[in-house]
Symmetry: C3
Subunit: 410 residues, 3 copies
């Protein structure tokens, strides 16, 4: 019945237009989203910089599912469903922390950092600890970015890994540390949060802080480039070529995007004056004018890699009309707060921008609730939304089953 | 299935009694209410005094539907679904404001005050602006009261207009200005908010401020009149007749009610001492002793028209158990605050009364949730609730279809 | 359809293990819980000490159903659905209060303390007051504990009454007064709140305040007793036998439990130093070393009866993931605050313990939401949870009907 509704909505869908109303606002569709996308696909979880030492952990909530990501004694990143095998209690209860072993606070069952149950006090002789390990969650680490998947059969990340590594690896995210982190909740569907991120058509009217430094065009051959920025582009790409840093758009299809683009003339970083936010550059860079690698991957992540810091964004849906967005700023692991960087200067542009985007997404959601809402045409500069809508329709078609549904969606 | 439930509930209904439980408390029935009543019928929106100049607007929420009401360049009142034709964002985001043109804050699509899309920057040549106007909402203005209807086929307002105009027009609401406005949310079903307003059986026990001035009887031939107020009534109606002001009950059926009734002996207005709230009378009145025209119209409005000010009430359901009630006080457009009127004196009676009514409606709602609730008999002084219940049952019968259902409801 | 789901979940259930996920977290199952358990069974409401005089009342909310419990003019405890027979308003609106008669605040219909409608002003001659009494709720008082049942056919309380009276009556709860009372809301399913109370396996890791005095073993023949407490047990039971106070476990099956157990060596009461909380003992006791009678009854109550005070706990579900827990401390009716007892000293152990339990139940709930949750095995010391799960499964089987379902549940 729900599948029939989804099939009808997919048939109504007009490519190049925003999605039919119920995809954005309906609670039943939201639960289908969770199954079709968030319980199926890889999700960005955190940076390895957030869990540098064995026993360091980060928790996250994938819909109903609490998950813990940690570094084990071998220095590898692993993840588990954060639910004790005794009576189900959540084990790690803080957003982040450190544990020598994972001890359930309820009855003190003790798990090794590899998930093995090693002590269950008061349980009888007949109890078999070996069948009560924590349920594992799939993990892949790509250039310091930790992705997890709670599906039993995760899709391949090979193309993504191959595609983004040349751009990101030079920034050495695994040699950074967390300078600041913040989570906001937007009263909007997660797809509106993503769509908001996929275009800068809205920037001129809404993001004064961001536009100090960010160029609005998203493609090197954008007509805007020709008009205003050709000389900037030419000088920038010449510099990056000389440093061996790739910049042309990667071929990520609808799955991901990766590109290096310049900041505005004379701007080096996301600050209110365009100057550096951190004197100590990331990796071994000595050249500060690297623009930024802009990377996103559906469904829940976008990052910026600059010469002096890295910003990562993690989107997690809470309900049809609530979405959590976590932003983390990373700087070189040896950078010293107060000497090399100042947290307020480092974070003010994106804290302001996030809040502006929150308001836009919330009003977008409220307007779409209207019975008068009709999917409207994406502008040419919204080509990434077209991709996103196509990707999402494909996921939903797969979910309700079979190639027939998939064809209907295309 | 829901229609079957509604049909069964309508069959259970006993005329002259409060409605079966689920009509008041069930979320599914609430959604049917929204379709059967609020998306079908005319709703009171505001006074023309709230939008005196071209570009002045007021927003309201009709269930999921954001609507904007504004005055266009020709001075006419028009209304639109407040949802951009690009990606659906809500356009006007304040409760009230002023705009030279309607500019969507998301991507700055620009609409004329008549709803025409006049600019959509960055859209390609092929984009047809003429098919992307704002969706219009029906509007009628009656004696300065603005009613809107989001149905494609609005019912006729002719009888209402004809019936109330002789009573209200002399008070010239279109020559007033807003002195104060407040919105409260009641944790109660909208029908309980309306029922609470339709009788003064509860006044003696609950409204000390209101009863300073308000007579509790609702009909000129009420036995209470004979006993206590006949001389007051006789003097009052003689005065009004001499001024050409109608006072006998209009024939509004179950749709509306309009009548002029006196205040208590020596009282002129809704104040704590019965004296005037505004020295400058509305219209060109020189006689302060006009009692008040009490008017209501189902489903969401009641107003009082006095010699010195006008009060209008707007009810908007938020969910099965939440209802917003907006109260607006209007005075002569030339009245001067601090000279002719004092806002606290003007508003204190009804601010207190509204809060008392909120508590009554909330406890009514909580008690009806009980499985022991049985529809009880309306008292004779609750005859307007009988009308309201009959009207509501008719609307629901129409909604689930056909004359058979309608007959079952009667 | 819901019944089919419940039947499937009952079949999945493994005895001796925590329940299948949806029994703890699903809103539909929660509504079935309310019908199968809370609208069917006896529920602990309050102590007679809370309503000592005629007209004293306590209100409680059984799911959607507001109920009022009061003492009538004959000194008997009676209860009614707290919903006026006129238009359904809740009548008694405070958590507790006193009323000479029950007067509905809406239109002042007046009910005698026996529920009879004695005045309905303005109603016509034809109105029959005798058919508009308040709907009664079944009440039984056992050793000062008031139980209510809103079912038309309440089950028998005879076994419970017979079983617990010998233990509790000597503490004379009907000669106590309320020293303090507090209600907290736990963001957890009611069954997790109950399970948390049914074992002390979690005490060592979580309840430092409680373990000053409480012995963790729950049965006289617990292996823990042999190892550590045999001498304490022997001395305690000898003392109680000499006073004629029963202490061996009552045979309550899955319905209730009653037992007297000692405190830790040299401890007399639930205080931070083990000393008495109230110098004036309850009843006519002169011996302070009585341990405590620990009593619970499914679904919503557990109490402790000590030499110097009594603590009672009342659990009321609010939704699938919210539960209200009210705790009341009773002392001898002649005890004087500031002289015989100090409220902070009396309450600090259980206020702290309740809050610790709240956190445990909340994290238990959050972890069970995980799709990786699998019902885990109860430890031997969790034998009362096995009983509880069996009892609950039986109730649900009865609810969905017939012996077949009941067999499937066993």
């Amino acid at each position: 019945m729900l599948n029939d509704r989804i099939a009808r909505l997919l048939q109504e869908r007009k490519p190049g237009h925003s999605l039919p109303r119920d995809f954005y606002v309906d609670e039943e569709i939201f639960r289908a989203d969770m199954r079709a996308v968030f319980e199926t696909d890889w999700l960005f979880a955190c940076s390895v910089a957030e869990i540098p030492r064995p026993g360091d952990y980060v928790t996250m909530q994938i819909g109903d599912n609490p998950v813990v990501i940690l570094r084990n004694r071998d220095g590898e990143v692993v993840a588990f469903h954060n639910s004790c095998r005794h009576r189900g209690s959540m084990i790690c209860q803080k957003e982040q922390g450190r544990a020598n072993r994972l001890v359930c606070p309820y009855h003190q069952w003790v798990y090794e950092l590899d998930g093995t149950l090693i002590n269950a006090r008061q349980m009888p002789e007949s109890f078999d600890k070996s069948t009560h390990s924590l349920a594992p969650v799939h993990v892949e680490v790509i250039c310091g970015m930790v992705y997890v998947c709670i599906s039993d059969q995760p899709p391949s990340l090979a193309a993504f890994r191959a595609g983004v590594t040349p751009y990101i690896a030079p920034h050495m995210p695994d040699r950074t540390k967390v300078a600041f982190s913040t989570t906001i909740v937007e009263e909007a569907n997660w797809k509106l949060v993503i769509e908001n991120n996929r275009e800068c058509y809205h920037c001129a009217g809404n993001h004064p802080e961001l536009l100090v430094t960010l160029v609005e065009f998203a493609l090197p051959d954008d007509p805007l480039v020709a008009a205003q920025f050709q000389s900037l582009m030419d000088r920038s790409t010449a510099r990056w070529d000389s440093l061996g840093l790739p910049h042309k758009p990667a071929d990520g299809g609808t799955e991901f995007r990766c590109i290096r683009l310049p900041f505005n003339e004379n701007c080096l970083s996301f600050t209110m004056d365009g100057g550096l936010a951190c004197k100590k550059l990331v990796a071994d860079f000595t050249e500060p004018d690297l623009g930024s690698v802009r990377m996103f991957r559906v469904p829940n992540n976008w990052n910026h890699f600059l010469s002096d810091h890295i910003i990562q964004f993690r989107v997690l849906p809470l309900s049809a009309n609530r979405t959590a967005v976590k932003t983390t700023w990373l700087v070189h692991e040896d950078a010293v707060e107060g000497v090399d960087y100042d947290v307020e200067r480092l974070t003010e542009v994106w804290i302001a921008t996030n809040d502006e985007d929150r308001i836009l997404a919330e009003n977008n959601h409220r307007g779409i609730l209207s019975k008068a809402y009709r999917p409207g045409p994406y502008a040419p500069s919204e080509f990434m939304l077209r991709n996103f809508a196509d990707w999402y329709a494909g996921k939903m078609a797969d979910h309700i089953g079979g190639p027939a549904a998939r064809m209907a969606a295309e």
